[in-house]
């Protein structure tokens, strides 16, 4: 695990340095374009923009992302099983502190992890995910997200995103400014001698070319980092749970949905376990997507034979991809310990459609703090939190049911009684 993080750090460092150089060069050329010798000023400005964006994401990044996605922090009584799974995976990945748990009240199944440091990280899932997946599948998803936290993927992706953002911002402002002003350096050119005018002309062309190319190159680099880390989290998730089928089957269910995740947008999309913006049937090119094709991820997980160690994932990866690319670092692959795949712990037969919709409805109401009251005739009534009366009349049998004080749900009461 440790070696994996170390080697990951080194490779990511190289990509970071490449992006950093692109940012500095862009600043230099844009600065020189506006006035001769202004390159240094341009670099300082570029780094300043980068610094401000970094500070904002470092201090408030996760809370901004969570509130933009309308995720809400929940207590164990909403879904005890999810909390159990998060704790299980926390133990398996040997993290010091259990991440917080957030739920998005949306029927589209998906999940993501946030938190620059493992100590204050959070795992977010949608209500749809909880109602669609069985225990093993949910465990696979939680393991994938926990791997992102343990591998410091969120830190890396946040800072890669900031560099990309700075580059895109500077080039866009520059190119737009150029369009409207029609080239502000013309003034300088008329005043200077013909020699420096020619030099200025070259810088102008280089600046424009760079402003067009740098964002594209940075974007491709960013996508490359992102895709690699998705594979790594899959490999790690399979190793943590010792059950690749759980994650594979979860990915299948998540990708087969027709529902849209309403709160997802272009900025938050790369965080999710499966890109929520990708429409069904649309085929994104390999180079320009943040996630590897889901069908491929599923195939790799399902062809892991003979164990769940990193080497088995690498072998499956090579087999499906049909080429010998090195996905995992040598240190991880040298671990030849055979880790057996465990048996399924829960039935894999899917829950019936009606039952699934009912659990989803109940869950969403629990999150919204509805009270559940079961009448003596067997009817389950769902009382909204702003209901003021002391009792409620059953619409089926006409009995009067008192509303117990502080009652949130019968589900939560059962779960609490099990917490000795």
């Amino acid at each position: 695990m440790w070696e994996l993080i170390q080697s990951n750090k080194r490779k990511t460092m190289i990509l970071f340095i490449a992006m950093g150089i692109a940012l500095i060069l862009l600043g230099y050329f844009v600065g020189s374009y506006f006035f001769p010798g202004g390159g240094v000023f341009g670099v300082i400005l570029a780094l300043f923009i980068w610094f401000i964006l970094s500070m904002v994401s470092y201090t408030a990044g996760s809370s901004i992302l969570l509130s933009v996605s309308s995720a809400r922090e929940v207590t164990p009584d909403v879904h005890q099983q999810l909390f159990n799974l998060v704790e299980e995976m926390r133990i398996a990945s040997n993290l010091p502190k259990t991440p917080k748990v957030y739920i998005i009240n949306d029927a589209a199944p998906n999940a993501f992890a946030t938190g620059i440091k493992p100590e204050n990280s959070a795992i977010t899932v949608t209500a749809g995910l909880l109602s669609k997946l069985n225990r093993d599948e949910l465990q696979g998803v939680v393991a994938h997200e926990m791997s992102h936290i343990a591998n410091r993927d969120i830190l890396v992706m946040t800072f890669a995103g900031i560099m990309l953002g700075s580059i895109v911002l500077i080039s866009e402002v520059f190119l737009k400014g150029l369009w409207f002003s029609g080239g502000s350096s013309a003034r300088y050119r008329s005043k200077s001698s013909s020699d420096s005018g020619q030099a200025q002309m070259i810088i102008m062309v280089v600046a424009i070319v760079f402003a067009i190319l740098a964002p594209i190159a940075a974007q491709l680099l960013y996508f490359a980092i992102s895709r690699r880390r998705e594979y790594l989290a899959d490999a790690n998730g399979a190793r943590l749970t010792r059950y690749p089928e759980g994650l594979a089957s979860a990915l299948e269910k998540i990708s087969s949905t027709d529902l849209d995740l309403k709160s997802a947008n272009k900025v938050t999309a790369p965080m999710f376990i499966i890109n929520p913006l990708k429409k069904k049937g649309m085929k994104l090119s390999d180079l320009t997507s943040t996630h590897p094709p889901t069908s491929e991820r599923i195939k790799i997980l399902r062809s892991m034979a003979g164990g769940v160690n990193y080497i088995n994932y690498q072998n499956a990866f090579n087999m499906i991809k049909g080429k010998n690319s090195v996905l995992l670092p040598a240190a991880a692959l040298s671990d030849q310990t055979k880790i057996d795949i465990r048996k399924a712990s829960s039935d894999l037969e899917p829950a019936s459609n009606i039952k699934e919709k009912r659990t989803l409805g109940d869950l969403m109401m629990t999150i919204n703090k509805y009270a559940f009251i079961v009448c003596a005739c067997g009817l389950k009534m769902k009382v909204p939190p702003d209901y003021k009366e002391k009792s409620i009349t059953c619409p089926r049998c006409g009995r009067k049911n008192e509303i117990p004080l502080g009652d949130i749900s019968t589900i939560s009461k059962v779960a609490q009684s099990a917490n000795i």
Binding site: Q80, Q81, N84, L85, E87, E88, M89, I91, A92, N94, N134, R135, D340, R342, K343, A344, S345, S346, D347, E349, T410, I411, V414, A415, S417, A418, N419, I420
Partner: protein, 185 residues
């Protein structure tokens, strides 16, 4: 004078090396202890859950007195066991008794409709998982620590300050390595 400085620098470097080796050994030993305490927490949790489980199911499972008695016996044995090896064995037996119980539960549809039982079942399944994950983590930490004690140059340090190898938490029965099959349908 120059020779003296060089000798002093070498001495300081050697001392610093020894300090960092000693500290890394201490850190690893603490990690082993910490991993052990995590198993301990989960084992205790299982011991606490069992009386509740027996209380919930005994009304339904009047014909399974033997299975329930086995769990109770295994539990009290596990609670009284001391030392890593003896404990691993006793807890292994308890895991075996529990997985037999969950197999038998399949024959009682009434029980599987009981909300209270379902919540307990989830808790027990999760605790079983946590036990196996924390055991895995403990063994990993023991492996790191034992390796460090055996390799040069830390083995000198370990010998001087009496760092002893730790025992792995191994379960004898092979079937116990797997999580008991529990149905959630």
């Amino acid at each position: 004078m120059a020779a003296l400085i060089i000798i002093l620098v070498i001495i300081v470097v050697v001392i610093l090396m020894f300090v960092s080796m000693y500290n890394s050994l201490i850190r690893l030993r603490n990690q082993v202890k910490n991993a052990w305490s995590q198993i301990d927490v989960q084992l205790k949790r299982r011991h606490d859950l069992i009386p509740n489980l027996i209380e919930t199911v005994k009304g339904y499972m009047t014909h399974e007195r033997e299975t329930l008695q086995n769990i109770t016996n295994a539990r009290s044995q596990a609670m009284n066991a001391t030392g890593v090896k003896e404990r691993a064995q006793a807890e292994g037996e308890l895991s075996g008794a529990m997985s037999k119980f969950f197999l038998v539960v399949e024959n009682y549809p009434d029980l599987k409709a009981n909300q209270n039982f379902l919540a307990l079942q989830e808790e027990l399944t999760s605790t079983e998982n946590k036990i196996s994950f924390s055991r895995q983590n403990y063994n990993d930490q023991v492996l790191f620590y034992n390796n460090k004690i055996q390799v040069f140059p830390t083995n000198i340090m370990a010998g001087m300050f009496n760092f002893k190898e730790e025992t792995f938490f191994q379960v004898e029965d092979k079937s116990d390595r797997e999580v008991p099959k529990v149905s959630f349908s």
